[in-house]
């Protein structure tokens, strides 16, 4: 089979429902973790939503290394995770699976909703770091 045809078949990804019990992964640049810096400012929309990866289709390592496609160094990024139920519990925030076909990222998920001070403070309470900057993986 021609590889382009194979791609078209493989990349016919449809949005799916994301269960509350799953996680969202998100990259965090090392500059956010300078001494005594908090990451309340990290939680913002780029375009319509805040980009994350759904744990069903991605590992933290894959999320970290996705920056290679954009010419950036994975070593400069940590990865955090957030429980979907806790994200949805923040006012006005919805979790929408939005596969990124051009960048071949089936895990891509947008967190939609205004990221005002209330939302940002609450996001800052619900994340855990799953890959630190100094970790080789």
């Amino acid at each position: 089979m021609d590889s382009n045809v194979a791609d078209e078949v493989t990349l016919n990804w449809q949005p799916e429902n994301i269960p509350d019990t799953d996680f969202l992964y998100m990259r965090v640049h090392k500059n956010w973790f300078q001494p005594k810096q908090n990451i309340t400012g990290l939680f913002k929309n780029h375009g319509e939503g805040m980009s994350t990866d759904w744990s069903y289709y991605a590992t933290p390592k894959e999320t970290k290394e996705r920056v290679i496609r954009f010419g950036k160094s994975p070593e400069d990024f940590a990865v955090i995770k957030m429980l979907v139920a806790e994200v949805r519990a923040i006012e006005e925030q919805t979790v929408e699976h939005t596969p990124d076909i051009p960048n071949r990222n089936r895990a891509h998920t947008d967190v939609l909703g205004e990221k005002d001070v209330e939302a940002r403070l609450k996001f800052s309470r619900i994340f855990d770091v799953v890959i630190k900057i100094e970790d080789p993986n």
Binding site: W32, T40, G41, L42
Partner: protein
């Protein structure tokens, strides 16, 4: 430049003590058992963020928070690999002025210093003031546009005792520090 210092009521204190020179016949301001007099001599301190006559010495914790916030100015555009704007001196100075003005006023009103916030990167070139205390948390965002009000949200982290709204940065808002320190 005049600054204010305090001394305990009825405590003896010569007017020529130290580097101070007192205004003659000045009526002290009495606040919670303390009397406030006014220096007429320029008083040098380490803090370069003293505002107008509100020149009491900040706590070391507040000064350290302000000092470390200057690191933000080293973050140029795209400092996070996601295209974020860098931080301007103008925005940082407004954040520091807001903090020091209100912290000093809060101290004058209550004889208590507010805990130091973390002064950290906000979205789109704005700056966040974040307090995470045992009982209450408060986030104030100082926008990049000086004509825009600051936004704030605070609660007890259990969605109780919520305070939320906008602050005109040209006014004092020590009430919000009162809310925080309750």
């Amino acid at each position: 430049m005049a600054i204010e210092i305090f001394k305990r009521k009825n405590e003896s204190w010569h007017k020529d003590e130290g580097r101070a020179t007192w205004l003659e016949d000045e009526k002290p301001k009495k606040i919670k058992g303390f009397e406030f007099y006014t220096y007429v001599e320029f008083c040098k301190t380490e803090s370069s963020y003293r505002q107008n006559d509100a020149s009491v010495e900040l706590t070391s914790e507040l000064k350290e928070s302000i000092e470390s916030s200057k690191q933000l100015l080293k973050l140029g555009d795209d400092w996070d690999g996601e295209g974020s704007l860098g931080y301007s001196e103008s925005t940082l100075n407004r954040a520091i002025k807001f903090l020091t003005d209100n912290a000093v006023q809060f101290w004058k009103d209550n004889a208590v210093w507010v805990s130091a916030p973390e002064i950290c990167p906000g979205p789109d070139g704005s700056i966040d003031l974040l307090w995470k205390l045992a009982d209450r948390e408060l986030l104030i965002n100082i926008p990049i546009d000086e004509n825009e009000p600051a936004s704030y949200y605070g609660d007890d982290s259990k969605n109780n005792n919520i305070t939320k709204g906008k602050l005109n940065l040209s006014e004092k808002h020590q009430w919000i520090l009162m809310w925080l320190m309750k």
